[in-house]
Symmetry: C2
Subunit: 216 residues, 2 copies
DNA sequence: TTTAATTTTTGACTTTTAGTCATTTTATAA
DNA sequence: TTATAAAATGACTAAAAGTCAAAAATTAAA
């Protein structure tokens, strides 16, 4: 029974090779400019083969975005710390997100690209995508941290952990998107934004926004 | 000297006609599926003529997005109210944004589409775009309201009005983007989101986040 | 080992659409 | 009425995504 298993392994390896090649091409040429033909060349395969492993260009891009999320999730994991309370850990996680954007700018940009895009061209039944959302999304870990903060009394508990999580995530990505893609716009408005300044503003607002409300 | 003026007027009218046609086609067929050929037909012009008025497809989309922003800016204007203090007006403006998304869903979607997109294909020297950013963007009005809130003591003043404004805007659009485009994702995560619930969470977080910090 | 069946890969081909530009049409000035 | 300028046309080009019948490679059977 070893042949079927070996073939399956080889298939997964080829899939991985294609994603590697796509990463190189997307990141060097830019996500829009990169062509499937170029990716095929980089993977030493023909274009047709790509379509045996990925339904379309977008699904291939999404495979890279899932990798990016994995990296980010690992960084989040490193921020867990028994000594800190929930809200401190949330801040650490937030800052590690900023670090991630600097350390892996290409992966970060790809993530942001999908953050504001409908996913109609994607097959949501795809097992890779299903698995990602059920088990690997960084938001799963983040929700646990928020819940911990609610238990230790550092984070407000009048909003469910899920709603808090998704709001925090969406607010943060919203600001990061704004800062990366609209830098020229800011200049046009006459605010040649000091990015760090904006980030500190964001954290400050969020800190007050999610902290347990002190009874006065 | 009347001829040059009339010609200029006619030119602007034709430009408007093209945007009208584009609006119809983009909104009925969807922004991706719509073709320049279809828009030309709808405008009773040839495709080439479109390119005399707009550099490329994206610039035409952006013209509609600017219209959307104008509508939104008008709605913001209606929320101004001498009796309310700054933070109350900010909340009213926020809620009018939600109303806008329901009343003009197509315009809203187009706005969100551009909110997370680089503008490389756009000619930022274009006078229409310049004018928009300098004079018409809803953010200009919003900044004034924030500043008022800082003066009347209802909004924190340890962050500049501009940074507060852009952060609030980016956070809100981030959440709205998340809710519209990722509805299916939320279901996949096992949170068949009650959208209104998320929105209330957002407002609650932002209220605490930007309020003047009371000395305890 | 040879042959048949199955799986995987290929790349030429189709289709679609954005954007161009030489030519034609229309409007203005002489 | 003719010349000049401005505006509009649509056939054409280029680029790239996605398809599919045929070829190559692999595995199973005889």
């Amino acid at each position: 029974m070893g042949i079927a298993e070996r073939k399956e392994r080889e298939k997964q390896q080829r899939r991985k090779d294609i994603i590697d090649a796509a990463e190189k091409v997307f990141f060097s040429k830019g996500i829009e400019a990169a062509t499937m033909e170029e990716i095929a060349e980089a993977a030493e395969l023909s274009k047709g083969t790509l379509y045996l492993y990925f339904r379309n260009k977008e699904e291939l891009q999404y495979a890279i975005k899932m990798r990016a999320s994995e990296i980010l999730g690992d960084q989040f994991l490193n921020q867990l710390d028994e000594k800190s309370n929930g809200i401190e850990m949330v801040e650490r996680i937030g800052r590690s997100f900023i670090e991630f954007s600097k350390e892996f700018p290409d992966h970060f940009n790809l993530m942001m690209h999908f953050e504001g895009k409908n996913l109609d061209n994607l097959n949501m039944e795809d097992p890779h995508i299903q698995k990602y959302f059920r088990e690997e999304s960084p938001l799963i870990l983040f929700t646990r941290v928020i819940a911990k903060g609610q238990q230790d009394g550092s984070i407000r508990n009048d909003i469910t952990a899920e709603v808090l999580t998704h709001n925090l995530w969406a607010m943060t990505t919203g600001v990061l998107q704004f800062l990366t893609k609209q830098r020229m716009v800011l200049e046009l408005c006459g605010h040649p934004g000091d990015v760090a300044h904006y980030i500190e503003g964001l954290f400050s607002i969020l800190r007050s926004g999610i902290a347990k409300i002190r009874k006065s």
